[in-house]
């Protein structure tokens, strides 16, 4: 059932030109250089330190690495991180 739904969603995205993050419930990530990273559609903070932020996603987690991290704003589905960002990694479960 889940597989079928995913396939339908993928088809809708490709053929109906709907934004992927809305249809497939994926995170939308906006970065401004290395300074800011803005992530929508996250599912909570897993770990947070000066050099690393790990966020839970619908599927898997996202690791953001860098230095001097400060969470500027955090809302149930949005997060704005400031600092010097060096890498963004996805990890599927």
């Amino acid at each position: 059932m889940g597989k079928l739904r995913q396939q339908v969603n993928k088809w809708m995205m490709q053929n109906l030109e709907l934004p992927a993050d809305v249809v497939m419930d994926l995170p939308r990530i906006t970065m401004i250089g290395q300074l800011h990273i803005y992530i929508e559609n996250h599912r909570g903070v897993k770990a947070f330190s000066n050099e690393q932020l790990t966020l839970k996603l619908n599927q898997g987690v996202i690791h953001i690495k860098g230095s001097e991290f400060v969470i500027k704003t955090i809302l149930p589905e949005e997060i704005l991180l400031e600092g010097t960002i060096s890498s963004v990694d996805f990890e599927n479960e």
């Binding site: 909570g44 903070v45 897993k46 770990a47 947070f48 330190s49 000066n50 991290f69 400060v70 969470i71 500027k72 704003t73 955090i74 809302l75 149930p76």
Partner: protein, 396 residues
Amino acid sequence: MKTKWNHLKGYVRVEIIGQDSSSFINTCIQSGIGIWDIQPLDQNRALISISVSDVQKARGILKENKLKIRIKEKKGTPFLLKRMWKRNGFILGMLSFICLLFLLSNMIWNINVTGANPKTEYELRKAAVELGVTKGKFIFLLPNVREIQRDLTEKMDNVTWIGVTQRGTSYRFEVVEKEIPEAKQMTGPRHLVATKEAVIHSVFVEKGQPIVGVNDYVKKGSLLVSGLIGKEKKPQLVSAKGKIWGEVWYQTEVEVPLNTSFQTYTGKYKNRHYVSLFGLNVPVYGFSEGEFKDKTETLNESPLYLAKWKMPFSYIKKEIRETDGVKRSYSKAEAIEVGKKMAKKELSKKLPDDAKINGEKVWQQNVSNGKVKLTMLYQVIENIASAQPIPIQQGE
């Protein structure tokens, strides 16, 4: 925008001590507690911002997560105000200074009187005190300059006119005194002569030789009482004194219009009060115009001063008084009656106090252009004697 709002409400920077701060963050978000500016310090510590109203809720969550909290900084308007209040003496001082300056610059500091002799000045100052114009009084509590001027002029008898000007904190009274000529005591030898053409009515001589008798006709300047008395060969000079009453005819012309319209106040009035801000009049009290058909309006403005500067706001009182257009019409007979009264009144203004009107006569009367024109003749008995000094002839 949101941070501005948080700033206004006040927030605290707190340190969270203990493991697992991320789960705290998650719980906070889920239970709707707003936190922001999360800055990890090291493994066990993180600095976060939280609004004052949410601190109590957050404490519960912290207990569940076995975390400790330590308030580092208090920010925002409420805390700023609190800190400022600690220096309240300073602020109070500043405010009271402004208040004091404001009050002092709306106080009378000086009263100048010019043009009056010391006696009049003393009386004027006394009258001013009765009106409340003294040093140390608030200017805005006093009637305005126009009213002061009117009241003072009414109160002072020996003054023709008082000009009141207000300049900042000082009042200036300019006085024009009545010049009452001093009655000169004529002691030198003199005659009494007639001041006008008349028929002598009665003669009363204290000193001197009367020349004229009752019912004599005299011209202007003719001798009435001589200052030379005694025998013809050896005359004595005296200062003639006496009253010679003569019948004098006066002619007065008056015009009385048959129809006149004029305005009177009905006594109904409305006061409106304004506060003028930067030239804009804001009504404060009294909003109705009174719904008068005919009215006259007067504005009284009392400005406020801070030091020497006129403040952009002032208090304005507007008086609206109802007027009534009255039409008066006379019949011909009435007009003549009124004309007679008017003529008599006008005449008695011209006559000295001791004169007596003996008889009156309508000389001419005609009606034209809606007016009654009267020419009246009056028979007046008045003192016609006036002194004329006798020149002393030397070398005789």
